[in-house]
Each structure stands twice: as C-alpha cells, then as structure tokens.
C-alpha cells in the first residue's frame, strides 16, 4: 500500500492529508506552536498510516538536507573526537596535569583517503576540492563565514575582509587568501581571483594550477607565487620560486600575450597598459604577505581553537589581560633558526630533556588569555601540526622565563606570575609520536586567566 493511500478522516472537515502536509511543512520550516503540536498529536495518535504519511513528508526534507553532506569515516571520527575533548573537559576529575604521549596525530592535518560514502540522494553536488586549514585571529568575512576544518567545494567562494585563510587543496596546493579578497575555488587546479591577493604554494601534483582574474590567467609550472588583482591597475604577479606563465586576456577571453616569469620577477598585466615586467609593482606584496608567511611559519594545519597570530609582533604585550584571546589560542611565531650554542635543558614533569648544542630551532609561543571572562565550553582546545619535528615543549613558568631571551620577539612583555605556564589543574598537552603535532586542552580561569607554552621545532633547512 502506498503511503498516499491514507483516507480522509473527516469528509466534512479539512482533508486529513492536507492538514498533515501543512503541519509537516511547518515543522520542516520552523518550530511548531502549541496549537499545532496539539493538532498533530490529535491526528497522529494511534494512527500508524497517518504517522507514516507524516514521516514520508519529513523524509523528503531530511533527504534534501542530507544531500548537502558528504559523510566519510574521517568526518565521523572528527565529530567523535571534537565531542570527546569537550566531554573530557567537563567530566574528568582533576588529578593534576596529565601529559600523554600518544601513538599518532590526533587532530593532525592528515587528509585520509578512506572510502567516501555518499549521501543517499544524488543531487548534482560539486566535489570537494580542499579544506580550510588556517584562519588567522581577527579575520573578518565579507560573505558566508567558513570554519576551521570546513571543506571547500568546487565553486565555493571565500570572501574575506581582513585577516587570512589558508586552504589546502586535495592535490597538495596550498592557497593563502589574504583580506580584502574574494576568490572562487573552481576546482583543484583553478581559482578565480575577483579582487585582492592570494599566494599559492604548488607541489608536484599541482603543476598547471591556474589563478584567473578578469585580465589574466597565471599558470603555474611548479612554484610558489603571489597574485594580486586591483580594479584600477590590473593583475600583478610575483614569483618567489620556480616559474609561471602569465597570460594577458582580452575581454572575450582570447589570449593577447604571454610572459614567463621566474623566481624573483614580478609582472603587471593590464588590458589598457599591456604587460609590464620592468616597472615598479604597484602592488606591495611584501607588506601584504610577509606577516602571513611569518604567522604560518612551518605550521601545516591549525585545529580547534588554534589561530595563527598575525598582528604586529614587536612590542607585544602578553601579560594577563593585555592580549585577550576570547576562547582561542593564539599561536605566536617567535625566533626562527636559532642555533643553540649550548645544550638546552628543560625540567618537566616527565623528567629532564636536553636539546643538543648546535640544534637549530624555530619557536612558537601558544598564548591563551581569557581575561576576566568566564570559560566557554570547548574553548582552549586545539592543536597544530607542523611540517617538521617538535623537539621540545616548554610549559612551566620557570622554563618559559628562562628561554624568553632566546626565543621571544623583540620587546615582548611577559608576566612573572607563577600561573604563566600550564597548571597542575587540568591543562593537558598531547604530543603525537611522530613528533609533528601537539594537541592541547587549556583551562584558564578567572584569577589565573593566562596559559602559555612554547613549542620548539627543528628549523627547516638545518
């Protein structure tokens, strides 16, 4: 029997099916009011066919909602893990600081290649082309906001007013979108830059990756480059590594001229002015991009509450109440390429660890300050995954103070309060066994509003 075969209950009154449809439609769009709930109760109670009809309607709603989702074992696991961190925070008795070495990365930036289980309805759905792996603190959006870890689908637009967002595409290409910018991710190999600035780091699998603007297509041939689109002066390109081809386009899309640019070269492509590789660039790439590169450092992925810090670093005040993080944990880049003249010995709960003399390290300070605010659920939980080995995590107030002179940015102000380092009352750090990911769960509280720890990584190139 089809579910449409339900008879009208009362031929004098409104048709039962019509009423059920009206109530089901309302339930799909908004919370039902008391009178509607009462009406639904009256119509459905004891009537299995009516219930089936009602559920048949909500099933269409459910299927349409679900068609937007692509459910993989990986995302199921992310949901579990996200909640586990939250539950642990509220339910576990405080027994002192617990640091656990685990066998593998937790929220690391491992993009699994597990089998994808598609949702049941095959609406035409653009494929996933990448994932958001970093959102700078203080970023503001010009359009729909995205979230850290969110997937980016083909045709998806990122509109950023301020800050920066990093998207890692499935083919390994990393794209930094730096506000004020609007960019459309057409595919893994094609990004349309409507305005603003983006930087692309293209790996071996990304050769042919193209950034298209109104005036030009910039085609990568294995490199790292930046493209800026300015409405008044055309498209600007700078190549940091490797080689690109830049094509100047006419309004009908036909190619007017092509120029090759190699590392260190810049070019401007403009329909009225043509191609210029000699003049001064009107686009100040250094000012716009250097803070982004500095903020990211060797961090491949920021997870949870972790946010790259890209405000001015010199003279930063990291004493309590001075740089509030509002539930986030700021990852502040510090000194790079510090060669330890003497071995660095740090005493922690897990014993004494020594980093050998001659080791070259980069430093990141993780800063969490809730001020006098109340603690938010899931605040202070996150992680960072690096492209290099973590050689030490310094988390006691004494060790932090002892290493400030070596690693801190010039003029940074720190507190000498004993609560600066991680507390014995619930802060947790978990380091992956592959030495590339640190996951943290910090619990500052009014009166002890600050938590900091320093992550030392092996400096790239050493």
């Amino acid at each position: 029997m089809s579910s449409d075969a339900i008879p009208a209950r009362n031929t004098d009154g409104p048709d039962l099916k019509a009423t059920l449809r009206r109530l089901a439609a309302a339930a799909c769009e908004r919370p039902l009011g008391p009178a509607e709930v009462e009406e639904l109760e009256m119509l459905l109670s004891g009537d299995l066919l009516a219930s089936q009809y009602y559920l048949g309607y909500t099933q269409v709603h459910s299927s349409l909602l679900q068609s937007r989702e692509q459910v993989t074992p990986e995302c199921i696991w992310e949901r579990v893990e996200r909640d586990l961190f939250a539950k642990r925070r509220t339910s576990r008795p405080i027994t002192g600081r617990k640091k656990t070495f685990i066998a593998a990365a937790a929220t690391a930036g491992v993009l699994l290649t597990l089998v994808t289980v598609l949702a049941t309805v095959s609406l035409p759905r653009p494929p996933i082309v990448g994932r958001v792996v970093a959102i700078a603190e203080r970023s503001t959006w010009g359009g729909d906001p995205s979230e850290l870890g969110a997937v980016v689908r083909a045709g998806g637009t990122l509109s950023l007013e301020d800050g920066f967002v990093t998207v890692r595409l499935k083919n390994g290409v990393t794209v930094d979108v730096i506000g004020d910018t609007e960019a459309v991710f057409e595919s893994e190999l094609d990004v349309a830059l409507r305005s603003g600035l983006l930087a692309a780091d293209v790996g071996l699998n990304g050769r042919g990756f193209t950034v298209g603007t109104e005036d030009a297509d910039v085609v990568d041939l294995g490199t790292r480059f930046l493209v800026g689109k300015n409405f008044s002066s055309g498209t600007h390109v700078r190549v940091d590594e490797g080689l690109v081809e830049a094509w100047l386009k006419d309004e009908d899309g036909s190619i007017r001229s092509v120029v090759e640019l190699i590392a260190g070269q810049s070019g401007r492509l403009d329909r009225s002015a043509g191609v210029d590789t000699q003049g001064e660039s009107l686009f100040d790439f250094d000012t716009a991009y250097a803070p982004v590169a500095k903020a990211k450092g060797d961090v491949r992925r920021f997870s949870g509450a972790a946010r790259p810090f890209w405000s001015a670093l010199v003279g930063l005040d990291l004493r309590p109440f001075e740089t509030l993080t509002k539930g986030r944990v700021f990852i502040v880049p510090e000194a790079k390429g510090v060669v330890l003249a003497d071995g660095l010995v740090v005493s922690g709960r897990d014993g004494v660890t020594e980093v050998a003399a001659g080791t070259a390290v980069d430093s990141y300070l993780c800063h969490y300050d809730i001020g006098d605010g109340t603690r938010l659920e899931a605040a202070g939980q996150g992680g960072i995954s690096l492209g290099t080995d973590i050689v030490a995590v310094i988390d006691t107030s004494a060790d932090l103070a002892a290493t400030d002179a070596l690693f801190a940015n010039p003029g940074t102000r720190f507190t000498d309060e004993p609560f600066r380092g991680l507390d014995d009352s619930g802060d947790e750090i978990t380091l992956s066994a592959d030495g590339s990911t640190v996951v943290f769960d910090l619990e500052a509280q009014p009166g002890r509003p600050l938590d900091q720890f320093r992550v030392l990584v092996r400096s790239a190139g050493f």
Partner: protein, 195 residues
C-alpha cells in the same frame, strides 16, 4: 618538556580518542566506517522526529557519541544499522522530552514512541522512497535542482541566492517549499503506480 618520538609513517587519526574508550585501532576504524555507512539511515530516522536542521545536527552528534561509547556492547553478528538507529532514536526522544520540559509543550511520550516505531520499522519503504526521489529530482529542471542543492536548509545561502538574482527572500523560500511538495507528490504518485 617533551622529546620527539620515533615517527610512524601513517599514523591514523583516532589514536588519542581510542585511548579514552580503550578501543583497538581496528575497532575505531570499523566504528567510523560503520557509522558512515549507516549515516543516511540515522539521519532519516532522527529527522522524522527532529526537523529543525540545527537541532537535528545536535541530536545526530549526540547519537554518534553514544554509539561510540557503547561500541564495545555492539554484537557484530547483529545488524549495525538497526542497533545504531535505536540509539539515535532514543537520543531524539530524549531531546524532544527535554524540549517539551523547556517550552512547556510538545509531543507526548506515547506519540514519540509511536513515531519511533513507525520510523524504525519502515526501512524498506524508506529505501524505496529514496530510490523514487532520485527519479523525481532528475525530472526537475536543472535550475530547480541547482536551487535545491545550493539553498535547501540554509538561510544564508537562500538569502544570497535571492540577492544575486534580485528576488525577495520569501520568494526563494516559497519556491523551495513548492519544490519539496512537488517531490513528495511525485514520490507518492510513483508509489501508487508501483503498488
């Protein structure tokens, strides 16, 4: 201070959480695969009771966590889908009860139980309806398919869709509702034909 450890080349992502529930890596992997496979069904049974997209997402999240916490109790000789759907339906029931207490009104326990029974007991019919929905969707114009895909269940996208096309938001919502109605009728027509 933590020294670096020897790196395993292909570290799976569930190591930290598995330690909490004392599951083996194989069990964690199996759990994630089974839930991903059963997810459409979990979504369907919960959505029959909890229609608001945000509430639905919360209940599903809660259900997935409960399934994980109880995964050791799952008997692999029985079907996973039915076992998981029962947990999901219970999570939906608990949510509706709490909502009723909060608002002062809501569906009775008896009706919730009845809807749970119907929802959990009509798997084959639900499968058939989904299959028919495929055909009904394909019969829509490309523009309508695109609109459903982009706008359904997201106010922000619907507003943006309306803005880009110079239409009123209400017109977009009305269109979405009409499309849903048309799909529902289409499925029922096809069910009538097949029976």
């Amino acid at each position: 201070m933590h020294p670096a450890q020897a790196p395993p080349a292909d570290a799976p992502p569930w190591e930290s959480a598995r330690a909490i529930e004392n599951l083996t890596p194989a069990e964690c992997r199996r759990f994630a695969e089974l839930v991903a496979e059963a997810y459409p069904e979990l979504h369907r049974v919960v959505a029959g009771l909890v229609t608001n997209p945000h509430d639905l997402d919360d209940v599903l999240q809660d259900a997935i966590l409960k399934i994980f916490r109880n995964f050791r109790k799952y008997n692999p000789e029985r079907g996973f889908r039915g076992w998981a759907c029962t947990i999901a339906l219970n999570a939906a029931r608990d949510f509706l009860r709490a909502q009723r207490v909060r608002r002062g009104f809501g569906l009775s326990d008896e009706l919730i139980q009845q809807l749970m029974s119907v929802s959990g007991g009509t798997y084959e019919l639900a499968e058939l309806r989904i299959e028919l929905l495929h055909g009904c969707l394909a019969a829509l114009s490309k523009g309508d398919q695109q609109m459903l895909w982009e706008c359904y269940g997201t106010d922000v996208a619907a507003a943006e869709w309306a803005r880009r096309r110079g239409k009123r938001e209400n017109a977009v919502y009305s269109r979405l509702r009409r499309l849903r109605e048309r799909l529902f009728d289409c499925i029922n027509d096809k069910l009538g034909e097949s029976s």
